[in-house]
Symmetry: C2
Subunit: 385 residues, 2 copies
Amino acid sequence: MLNFDFHNPTRIAFGDDSVPKLGKLVPAAARVLILYGGESAEKNGTLDAVRAALGARAFVEFGGIEPNPRFETLMQAVETARRENVDFLLAVGGGSVIDGTKFVAAAIPYKGDPWEIVTSFGTRVQTAIPFGTVLTLPATGSEMNNGAVISRRDGVDKLPFSSRKVFPQFSVLDPTRSATLPQRQVANGIVDAYVHILEQYLTYPVGALVQDRLAEGLLQVLIEVGPRTLAEPRDYTARANLTWTATLALNGLIGAGVPQDWSTHLIGHELTALFGLDHARSLAVVLPAMLSERRGEKQEKLAQYAARVWRIEAGDPTVAADAGIERTREFFETLGVPTHLSAYGIGDTEIERVVARLVEHGMTALGERREVTPEICRRVLASAL
Amino acid sequence: MLNFDFHNPTRIAFGDDSVPKLGKLVPAAARVLILYGGESAEKNGTLDAVRAALGARAFVEFGGIEPNPRFETLMQAVETARRENVDFLLAVGGGSVIDGTKFVAAAIPYKGDPWEIVTSFGTRVQTAIPFGTVLTLPATGSEMNNGAVISRRDGVDKLPFSSRKVFPQFSVLDPTRSATLPQRQVANGIVDAYVHILEQYLTYPVGALVQDRLAEGLLQVLIEVGPRTLAEPRDYTARANLTWTATLALNGLIGAGVPQDWSTHLIGHELTALFGLDHARSLAVVLPAMLSERRGEKQEKLAQYAARVWRIEAGDPTVAADAGIERTREFFETLGVPTHLSAYGIGDTEIERVVARLVEHGMTALGERREVTPEICRRVLASAL
């Protein structure tokens, strides 16, 4: 096990009765800015439930945060917050709204150009105003971590930042709030959480038996409840377990003390920025191709994954590894998420554009050993066609 | 899954390089009281490493906190802290020292008789002074939770309290610091952590698939690394995984959203108070007998436990349940921890004394359904002879 620091101060209020708990979770004297995305939070009643729970507190609202939240949009929220002397933010939405809120929380008190928050990867964040979240889409884990991904230039830049100052103070997780989501978003959330786990798990062994078991357990839950959640949107047990798994997939726990990969995410970000693929769909395309490309380096963990998660009994570890990759691909396809670029209308002539963006963004040595070069990215994309 | 609140703000600094991190973790201007137990912390160099890490900070020391820490001893530490105007506590030791430090932290500012902190189960704690810990014995999980068990009246009373105010601010977990422990203490720690997990896991199904998988994973790690840690005290991987598992076994994560039992602990506390059994040994005696007594109520989870943790393939769930209980007993015995009262010189004439104490302490309706009556406790103890 590698040495590590772990700290996650976010309080979780989980359950079908949890939105009214905002009444106690939000400071009594707070002046609140509610941030949300599209119309669904209004239509499905979540915004009304949030307003009711805030009681007599003063609040203003800022809607329209888009998927892959953009700097330009978020700076409008910053202006609103500054003008209205807001001292607490409340994100109501999925990962994009929560990521955007983290940026807004850090940008409000920031001296200088707030885009530096992103270009410094968060290292320039000295302070942020406090915020909580009401999660409406289990997927990214942003509700219990201190990371965010922000886009700019009409989405051509899509870059991550993190800071200890942007942990949510609390997150309200009411699984029923996601029951009316389109199937596509639910499926995306399952894939997103699954790939988050694999980015932290499928590297090389370091004797982190605890983290391995926890990761394998979360993967097994997703395999069990993913299809159930899609087939039966009102199955509370399935949805609750999906929700809690997606949160734990990226709250620091399974990633503490182990090497981490994230090459799939960083390539996927470029696919989203260039071609508008949903985040999860970009991961579903890149991951199986990346695992196949690097199955030599990752063989030990791939074989363990195949045996423990998929119960593949193969004597030969290379056979087991390949079978595990294949089962992963099938799982995504079963959820209705295609795993080839061609399914999204992207052909081989686009590969160089993706590689050029990676180089432009300094992403030239990715993965747990920093050995994923642009040339390897090119091969991965070619095999994902 | 049951609704739940989860919040754990303790920072963990984990690894073989972590004691020097105290230099950053303890506030720079703190006036520190170091609390510890017996001579081992001095002999094995941990206290010296702690003193060095504190640098120029002012500190005083209080040693002699005993296993099953006593109110009378801890009140001496409270007097020292008050006299010396201490504003930060640092526990250096295992669960007893850390539990005791939680009491001291709450008692220093307490107005009134501090024993009320315990008799109110912590509900009267309004504030506590901040503290951190340096763990030297993986076992109780106290280093990352807000509970403590305090004894009084020459140990005849042994009672738990908890409060949101007594989470450690940080805990330093250096697995190498426990490498010189006596085998008996290491074995006790493994049993303690194992039973902590089972008290939260072996109840009845509520569709908490996530919590089940995490608990099963931690149990599997203990089964794998427990004997290894005893056989090879310098096996860092085994010890590191034991350490992190013992912490995660009782940090709130696997217990959030599920029913919990704890009847074994509450009966075990009386055995320790009356006869001086090590805490873990009291659990090793009570648990298998309790599971056998209640195998009807617990059958579904017992069968799941047998299948997933012990890989017992039995068609009949009652056969699987019994086999799972038997494997548990064997595991404890293999670690050198006897599972019968007779091994500790306790005969059937003592059973009524234990039951009388339980009644005196109000422990008349224990377990996840509050159905464990004194009569059931009597049967459990009789079958544990």
